[in-house]
């Protein structure tokens, strides 16, 4: 009886469902930024000692906390921000970085080698310690990056490098608007408290702030980088679906929470801000909800 009735209801329902679903597919994520360069497939990694080092580098990049635990002080992996194991154009791919070093960096006010750049990632993004130059961890990551860049012209500015910078926002990035974007588009995976989620003992959704996330010295702590990354890559699988303004607002919200201290801490928050964070795009040392961000002490 009931079954008959519900069966008869099926046809019109299917039609109306298609109407609900179609618009969603219509604003599906655009194809990822088209980069001319394509790194070689995993199947092309050669046998022998060099190939083994490349594989080790990939393992460290994808499973940093288990493959190089002594240098990691967070729940993050390199590939959380450099998507698809450092291959994806528009997510700061390793192949585009490899051919761009050595270079002068304003962050260190020095000409840095690629290996020194990697050290910075461990110190800030991974909230850990820098592996020594020449250590197996750095050699493996260099071998992996070099191999991914096979055939790319040295010194060329490859399309797809870094995170595609967004135009300046129409309205200044706003914490309150960002909070709403976060609740609607991010909390499902990263949790309402931004602490991420685990399953089967593994971190599945990485923490965006708090003691197990990147520290105040990291590139993602700049709202410019965070907005660019988020617009291109988040929500996972739906990159490009937020408006630019939503990306700026939610980036400001994410970067307005406490996280581990900047390892360059210069004695006081004010001093550290003056030296390393003197930009409207860094929330370090600014007051949010009556709390000075970056203030040392119990969190």
């Amino acid at each position: 009886m009931t079954r008959m009735r519900s069966l008869r209801r099926l046809a019109p329902l299917a039609a109306c469902l298609a109407a609900i679903v179609l618009p969603v597919a219509a604003f599906a994520a655009p194809p990822p930024a088209q980069a001319g360069f394509r790194p070689p497939p995993e199947s092309a990694i050669p046998a022998g000692p060099f190939g083994r080092m490349v594989r080790l580098g990939e393992a460290i990049f994808r499973h940093t906390g288990t493959a190089a635990p002594q240098y990691v002080g967070s729940d993050l992996r390199c590939s959380n921000c450099h998507i698809d194991g450092g291959r994806l154009a528009g997510a700061a791919p390793l192949w585009a970085a490899w051919v761009a070093f050595p270079t002068y960096r304003s962050k260190t006010k020095q000409v840095n080698t690629f290996a020194q750049r990697l050290q910075g990632c461990f110190r800030y993004s991974m909230n850990g310690t820098a592996p020594p130059l020449g250590s197996k961890v750095l050699v493996a990551l260099e071998a992996y990056s070099f191999w991914l860049a096979h055939g790319a012209p040295t010194g060329a500015k490859l399309a797809g490098r870094g995170y595609p910078k967004l135009p300046k926002p129409a309205a200044a990035p706003d914490y309150a608007r960002g909070k709403i974007v976060f609740a609607q588009h991010c909390a499902l995976c990263h949790g309402a408290d931004g602490a991420g989620r685990r399953a089967g003992g593994r971190v599945v959704f990485p923490p965006l702030w708090g003691p197990r996330s990147f520290n105040w010295g990291a590139g993602m702590g700049s709202i410019v980088n965070a907005a660019a990354f988020i617009k291109a890559n988040m929500p996972l699988g739906r990159g490009g679906s937020l408006t630019d303004q939503m990306a700026w607002d939610v980036a400001a919200y994410v970067d307005s929470h406490e996280r581990p201290q900047d390892p360059r801490f210069a004695g006081s928050v004010a001093e550290t801000r003056a030296k390393f964070h003197d930009s409207p795009y860094s929330m370090y040392g600014q007051t949010v909800n009556g709390h000075v961000l970056g203030a040392p002490g119990p969190k």
Binding site: T2, I20, P31, C189
Partner: protein, 226 residues
Amino acid sequence: MGWSEGLGRRVLGATLAVAALAVLSLDLSPALAADGAAIALHGVGTVPACATCHGAQGQGNPRIGAPHLAGEGIDYLREQLANFAAGHRINPIMQPIAAGLTPEQRDAAAAFFAALPVPAPHPVPPGPDRAGALLAEQGRWSAGLPACTQCHGPNGIGVPPYIPRLAGLTAPYLTAQLLAWQQGHRPPGALGLMPVVASKLSAHDIKTLAAYFAALGGPSSPEAGR
């Protein structure tokens, strides 16, 4: 129509529940759990016991296409029951069952199954065809397709409270869900993530992925509970 009606019932129900709570100063969760167990194991009114099809441990019954429910995220189970009840997720068996329950009864049944333990999946040794495993674990980012495990967790064990477990669902069930999203027959679900994922899969992809996750084993596989 259906939405506001459901909302009204939910608000009324919540008000009643709060009132009961205040008067009897009962803890709501044990009460819900007990209710849920009764619905799951004995049924209520004309609604048959969920256990008849989904098993007393929520392990599911592959022969009749009833998926496991044990250990699924509570938010996921609630949403699916609401979808069936409102006729947004189409299934001739589950629609009348879900529609026969009040929102509170659906929540109670969801809470009961969400709290049941699930065995760990047993990863299959890589066979001659690694295509399913590779797609599941690395995706196809060159076409904007994330890896299934980036959302569904290692070995597809699910990430409560929302992302469901894939390990141990049957190949026909997995295939049917992916096709339903491709054809617009299943509601998009959270953030419209799955319709986009499904739109990037070929018929061959679906075949290898379904075989891969089915082989990972779940609550209904013979090894379960050992």
